[in-house]
Symmetry: C2
Subunit: 503 residues, 2 copies
């Protein structure tokens, strides 16, 4: 066996890890006898409302997490800055270690409308199947194995409290199996990621001396749609732009003024339609300029990723996709422009026969390496101007409205940031890949995830590479209602975290 | 003087009417000493909620109106059909009369969202100026003249309870001045006009024998924007169409799927944009086909109408209008296509980073004589098909969604109807014009109003011409929030009604 392996140019150590990471094995053994305790502790954490803007609530979460880490022998505390959700910081010093690993997650959740949820977002429930397959609410069984296809429904079940419970369980498992750590370990769990991490940079600056490490492992986002573990080396940046167009200064009777008073909903339709062609390619001038090309390693990783597009189309009931036949895994390496929402007056049963007074769209632009978020927003604004619009930043007064045939209020929301991408060829990148492969392989390697996390600031301020090690199921409804996590993804996550903690 | 008039080809009687209609003079005299009583009675009527779908409420309104008419010696009763808001019917037999005049109005109001109103819609208040000029709520003064520029704010203050109070007051005034009627008078006040009058035709069929008359005088809509009295000989028809487009079967994370999963809001923008050019001209095939041409009299009437476009643009803070430089008064003689409302996911502070699952627009098409409402809706649907959409009438299932790259649910709301137009050259038309001119001249004559009232059925079922005799101020916010009526318009309306009642 050994000779055969050497003939393939592989080392024994690499293959041993691929086959059986001891920390992952220990994590599985431990988990199998502690499933109920893990889920109970997790559901307690999920029962805490966690919107970044709710100061009291985030503080309660942060204190609970400090206490969870403390129980596992982690020196944990809050990093504070006035008026900002506290950042949970923890560390484990490992004597003789030459490497420091930072685990990042966030404990705040996406804003939501409780009316859209099947069950209240902060009253976690187990369901025996996904909700879209009519999963029923079931109690946590008193004994016996828990079906790993069950799911927990609650805000942040996936995004992003799952990593916190899996790390906690992994630490328990390692302790029980007496598996020693090899690196110094640090944790940073922030409380306003879903608000765009507006203060993370200043907290990092303030506590820079605490935060030294060789890598930030970003525990956020979903695994591959094929359900295989993926390791992701970057994230797209984002900038959000609100566009409001104006018609008459109040709603008008559509009969008495239709054909004469311009309709801002129609104007918005025309403006938005000018931004993309039928295949979804963005028509804004220079939108794709400056993109940093992929390396050969990155191109190979993309080519090797499983093709899940057909399955995904079925899952999402899609009859077509954008992108001129390119695969999803390729397309997320380009910047994108997306209408998050669009509104003008009222629709359906609520509609009345008016010409609306305003029409608004909220747009997000996802960015890849090489395209700055301010530049991207400026290109969008330039495009709006080119369509004949006079662009303002606040609601125009009557005089301004009368002076311009077409007027648009364009607001770039604060908190936009750039993409980041760590080279897959760095030694730390290779170590993470080997470790993940040994615990959860064969893994999928991707140069970037589609979503955005503010990784750029780690690179810019701390000059430390970031690598994403996600654990959630891809169909977790993160950022929408009925967010959930599949139990098996929690179990897999514990094994991955145990392996990464012992790198 | 008489010789001079005869030399101009005019009869003395016509000029006398132009100068001073005795019924209108009597109405003014009576009103000046009864202002408080008129407004009190009106505000009691406005305090009754009046949505067509609220059976108990509309019935309360109908009974109150029967009682108001009864007090004025009108034989009044309810015309009933099961499950339908009652129609108030009243009559005054005039011995020796050779002509019967039917006065139409409606007592139900447009649906509304109370949150949008400055004061509750069914708690009528007086304001000392229009709300958009910061008018303050003022009490009804205990004595002295009431400022005619004050306004009453309440649902249906203009649309369409104002005619009911002005007719009541006019009857009081005529009785007080002992001015005899010359025609038989009938009243028909319906209770579901704002729901599209879905049962008016069947009520008319059922009670046909009661409803014989020489003309229906439609007491609805606003006077000309110049504030001059207008007499209108038609109304546009209308058909309402809801269009929903589909993206993924649930909202997706815009980062993980942006560039790949089609966005229904963008698709809707493209579809709506395909329907009009930049000047507002509708691009749907054959949209303008079949329009019945205007007669010379009608063209002359339009040419003689005051040009208020500049003033209106100032009033509405508009920097441009649709229609390639044509005037409003011309443009309402064409069919129009209007987006009543548009919605997809959420906007602004409520937006989250999703690709929406659906996008919906509610569209109204206003029709002119010669274009059938079903044909117009079909042309719109054909246009949607031509843009590549597979059109369905109910929410498509997963299989249907997957089988078609572009899918649109298109629902034509029930209750669409055709335009109607009465010839200005009929003797009854000439009589109404002379009478209105003598009471409130010089008047504006228009072939059609921009709005829709189901006049076509009067023509189709009863073969009786319809002529609109509106009284509300044009800036009354009808069909939107903060509906109001200017007091002077009520006073003018009483004079007009007194004159018409004594034709």
């Amino acid at each position: 066996m050994k000779a055969f392996l050497i003939s393939l140019g592989l080392t024994w150590a690499a293959v041993a890890e691929t086959q059986q990471n001891p920390a992952a094995v220990a994590a599985r053994n431990w988990r199998e006898t502690h499933e109920r305790a893990i889920l109970s502790e997790f559901m307690d954490l999920l029962a805490m409302p966690n919107l970044a803007r709710d100061d009291e609530a985030v503080r309660k979460n942060a204190n609970a997490i400090v206490s969870m880490l403390g129980k596992r022998g982690v020196k944990a505390r809050l990093l504070e800055e006035a008026g900002v959700p506290p950042v949970v910081f923890g560390e484990i010093d490992t004597p003789g270690a030459t490497r420091t690993l930072m685990f990042y997650a966030h404990y705040d959740g996406q804003p939501l409308d409780p009316k859209e949820w099947a069950t209240p977002p902060w009253q976690p429930v187990l369901r025996d199947r996904p909700l879209h397959q009519d999963g029923r609410v079931v109690p946590l069984p008193a004994n016996g194995k828990i079906d790993p296809e069950w799911r927990i429904y609650a805000r942040s079940a996936s995004d992003d409290k799952a990593p916190i419970i899996t790390i906690s369980a992994a630490l328990d498992a390692l302790k029980a199996a007496r598996i020693p750590l090899r690196s110094n370990i640090k944790f940073i769990f922030e409380g306003e990621e879903e608000a765009g991490s507006p203060h993370l940079a200043s907290v990092i600056e303030k506590y820079k001396s605490l935060l030294g490490s060789d890598v930030w492992l970003i525990c956020d986002g979903p695994v591959h749609q094929s359900r295989r573990q993926q390791i992701v080396f970057g994230a797209r940046g984002v900038t959000i732009v609100d566009v409001t167009l104006y018609g008459p200064n109040h709603e008008l009777h559509s009969g008495h003024y239709g054909n004469w008073a311009p309709n801002p909903a129609m104007a918005l339709a025309r403006l938005l339609a000018s931004m993309k062609d039928d295949s979804g390619r963005v028509l804004i001038d220079r939108f794709y300029d400056g993109i940093e090309p992929l390396t050969e390693t990155e191109k190979r990783a993309i080519a090797e990723a499983p093709d899940v597009d057909r399955d995904l189309m079925r899952e999402l009931s899609l009859g077509a996709t954008d992108g001129d036949g390119k695969k999803l895994v390729e397309l997320i390496n380009y910047p994108s422009l997306n209408i998050r929402g669009m509104g003008s007056a009222r629709i359906g049963g609520q509609a009345s026969n008016v010409i609306p007074s305003t029409a608004t769209a909220t747009i997000d632009i996802r960015l890849v390496k090489g395209v700055d978020h301010d530049v991207a927003a400026k290109r969008l604004i330039d495009h709006i101007r080119k369509q004949g619009y006079y662009v303002v930043e606040t609601d125009p007064d009557a005089q301004t409205r009368m002076s311009h045939p077409k007027i648009a209020k364009v607001t770039v929301e604060p908190g936009g940031y750039n993409a980041s991408r760590t080279s897959m060829d760095l030694p730390i990148s290779q170590l993470v890949l080997r470790t993940a492969d040994s615990a959860r392989g064969p893994i999928v390697k991707l140069p970037t995830m589609g979503g955005s996390v503010p990784l750029f600031m780690i690179d810019e301020i701390l000059h430390v590479p970031t690598i994403s090690v996600p654990i959630a199921n891809h169909d977790n409804n993160q950022h929408s209602y009925n967010e959930n996590i599949r139990i098996q993804n929690l179990w897999d996550g514990i094994e991955l975290m145990a392996a990464l903690l012992t790198m």
